[in-house]
């Protein structure tokens, strides 16, 4: 039981990290970023290549290679996030809501096919040098048996979330991001470059998704060009469940969906886990159409 909870929390932490990107872009732009799952997927591939390159350069120390790989993945996805905003969103500012939605789906298809054609259309193995020792190191704390990889996932998710909270709540950039989300005209009268700040929201969200991608890649051991699709959908569900636009809501939604999936898996069977997470979403939306924390718009970015 305890193990199921830890598994669910680790899974939920991943959903939460990706959900934060959906919720930030929605908060500042009022639109869903339909290419966000691809930022997760690109993060998987970027860290795989970074680890591969570091490995062939002779660097194997996990404490060194893993942080480098995560940072490379975050930086690369942030770059793609900025590109996505410029190409799929900025050109269509002021257009009908469906226009950027369509262009973002187009961006998503382009990125998936780019990876499929340039890397592989099948599965690619994620370098085992890092993940295998982490997955094999297991600790027993009382009745709880937990792997170093799970500790890493929970720990780094927590650190990233605290980091995001700090940026949003305690820095000038965070104040500006929230100001743009609340009143774009007034923000520009304060001298804020609205377009740049919207790009920042995309970049921060994409970097978080890339970190999540690296961790899932280590967990699963294989990566695919279409890995962002299902996970993106789940994370989107998590953001909506928690109240889209609301940052604590994205975290709460992610954790709840992760827990629901693992509890269902252990109680009924893995076949039902997708059913349970979306059933949970539907149930919550029936009772609270704006999501769990949807009314507390105070923390909206």
């Amino acid at each position: 039981m305890l193990e199921t909870l830890v598994n669910g929390l680790s899974r939920g932490a991943i959903y939460a990290l990706v959900a934060l990107g959906y919720t930030m872009v929605y908060g500042i732009l009022g639109m869903i970023n339909f290419a966000h799952g691809e930022m997760f997927m690109l993060g998987m591939f970027a860290s795989a290549f970074a680890l591969g390159a570091l490995g062939s350069a002779g660097l194997v120390s996990v404490g060194l290679t893993l942080p480098i790989a995560i940072l490379v993945a975050m930086a690369l996805s942030a770059g793609f996030g900025a590109m996505n905003e410029r190409m799929a969103y900025r050109k269509l500012r002021g257009a009908h809501l469906l226009a950027p939605l369509t262009s973002a789906i187009g961006m998503s298809i382009v990125l998936q096919n780019f990876v499929m054609l340039s890397v592989t259309k099948g599965k690619k193995d994620f370098p085992q040098s890092v993940s295998a020792p982490l997955a094999d190191t297991r600790w027993s704390i009382g009745p709880l048996n937990i792997s170093a990889l799970q500790v890493l996932i929970l720990g780094s998710t927590f650190v990233l979330m605290i980091g995001l909270w700090f940026v949003i709540q305690r820095t000038r950039l965070g104040i500006a991001l929230r100001a743009v989300a609340q009143d774009r005209t007034m923000a520009s009268l304060c001298g804020m470059k609205v377009d740049h700040l919207i790009t920042w929201a995309f970049m921060i969200g994409s970097a978080l998704a890339a970190a999540a991608g690296t961790m899932v890649a280590m967990y699963q051991g294989v990566i695919r060009f279409d890995a962002g699709y299902t996970l993106g959908l789940k994370a989107f569900a998590a953001a909506v469940l928690g109240g889209i636009g609301n940052i604590p809501g994205a975290v709460l939604g992610g954790l709840l969906i992760g827990l629901a999936e693992d509890l269902t898996t252990s109680a009924v069977g893995a076949d039902w886990k997708h059913t349970s997470s979306f059933a949970l979403l539907i149930l919550v939306l029936l009772l609270r159409p704006r999501g769990l924390l949807g009314e507390r718009v105070a923390d909206k970015v």
Partner: protein
Amino acid sequence: MATEILSMESIRAGYGPNDVLHGTSLRVDSGEIVALLGGNGAGKTTTLGILAGTVAPRTGTVRWMGKDISRHSIADRLRQGLVLCPEGRRIFPRLSVEENLVAGTWIRDPKATPRKIREAYDRFPILGQRRGQLGGTLSGGEQQLLAIARALMSEPKLLMLDEPSLGLAPLVVERIFSILVEINACGTPVLLVEQNANQALKIAHRAYVLSTGTLVREGTGQELLASDEIRRAYLGGD
């Protein structure tokens, strides 16, 4: 001898096919409070938009300290000290009072922010008491104070205000106007757009009356206050 710091010359501007301003010119000299009066749809807000950079003129020039700034961005004009406190106050409703003030410092050196925030609280103690409260929870008068304080955080060399008295109780309006006089006394010229003509003319050194995009009258505050004709035609009732 007062020197001209801001002027617009023969500005035509509008939205869609129609012009709102038909070749309008005005100026603000150093040390002045200038009121821009007129009824609904006269083009007052558009005039401020032209000066602040939110509306692009079709023809004509905007000059700031003698330099043509017609093509400068909003942020560039802000950095040069041209600050607009817009209609409806536009407090960020879900930022705290203090965060609203910080938003006003965006184009300035962040190192000066703590000092400027202290000065704002000295000047407006009520804002200090409410520093952690969300902007949207303040009363209308407090929001107007916050809007002015936020504009001051941008370090204006000219402060433009669009209808600061809108929707406020008479006592609060008096308070706001006396603050504008204080700000002016410290050396900052003020360009004030108002429908509340009587109040505005009492504090203004000079005033313009705008009617459907054309300046119909210019004079000192006293002159315009004394003119029955102007009052009847353009300044409405009382």
